[in-house]
């Protein structure tokens, strides 16, 4: 497996949706290619950080205000 082939498969590797034989090739490649191993680990970490520290969160007071405004208009038939 080449680095280009590895990158092309990166999403499937991260999402754990590669076939068992491909997975073995992927692991073999990562074992000998430190760069691809870094790319894999740091890309996975990127996703993990964005998932656990959600940006653009709606503060509760604003949420309640917008929610009330939406529901008031729905009740009036918009």
């Amino acid at each position: 497996m080449t680095c280009t082939e590895f990158i092309a498969l990166l999403d499937d590797i991260i999402d754990d949706s590669v076939a068992a034989e491909t997975r073995a090739e992927v692991e073999k490649h990562m074992h000998k290619c430190g760069h691809c191993e870094v790319v894999f680990n740091t890309t996975r970490k990127t996703i993990e950080i964005y998932r656990s520290h959600q940006i653009y969160d709606l503060p509760n007071d604003l949420r309640e205000r917008l929610h009330a405004a939406i529901m008031a208009r729905c009740k009036k038939g918009c």
């Binding site: 680990n41 939406i70 208009r73």
Partner: protein, 218 residues
Amino acid sequence: MTTIQSIAGQDEQHPDVALVQRVRDGDVSAYDTLVRKYERQIFRIAQHITQNREDAEDVMQDAFLKAYEKLEQFQGNSKFYTWLVRIAVNESLMRLRKRRTGKMVSIDEDLETEEGTVPRDLADWAPDPEQNYTQSELGQILEKTIKGLPPGFKVVFELRDVQGLSTEDTAEALGLSIPAVKSRLLRARLQLRERLSRYFHKKPGSRQAGPKVARAEL
């Protein structure tokens, strides 16, 4: 066994279906439940596209009101949430076009660029690098980092990786093909990784610190 499970899975009704039916029958409180369930997610999508807090607030309200008005048109062959996201994305793009005085903005804009498909920063990160920053600093870094990505990349990343939608549901919500979603997701992930690297490298002098080759500009 697998077959029986998959058949059972297909028959299993999504909880939104019953709520949508109750709204159609005139029960506004069921819509209240749907709004509560999805308002945060819709706000985030709107903020990703518009990059403006007031616009995102307006889009969120307009999207829920439009969905309420058009509920009769909702066929039920897609999920309520993917249908709602589609409305919110369209509202967000309209708002963005207005702000940019009519300039065409699309989720499907030409993105045939090689940027981000070839990783350049190959130095390793510190273990748990986010812990070197306060919550507020980290929030700023994450916002600044994702801001520069094209709208189509940001929304695909948000839906697939942050909100956990399937590739199929993301494609349906955005009106994109499955290969288009996959291509945007790979590039979004790689570009974010590349941009975050400058903040998360191992500190010089730490064990196994790699050479710093971070790009100068975000």
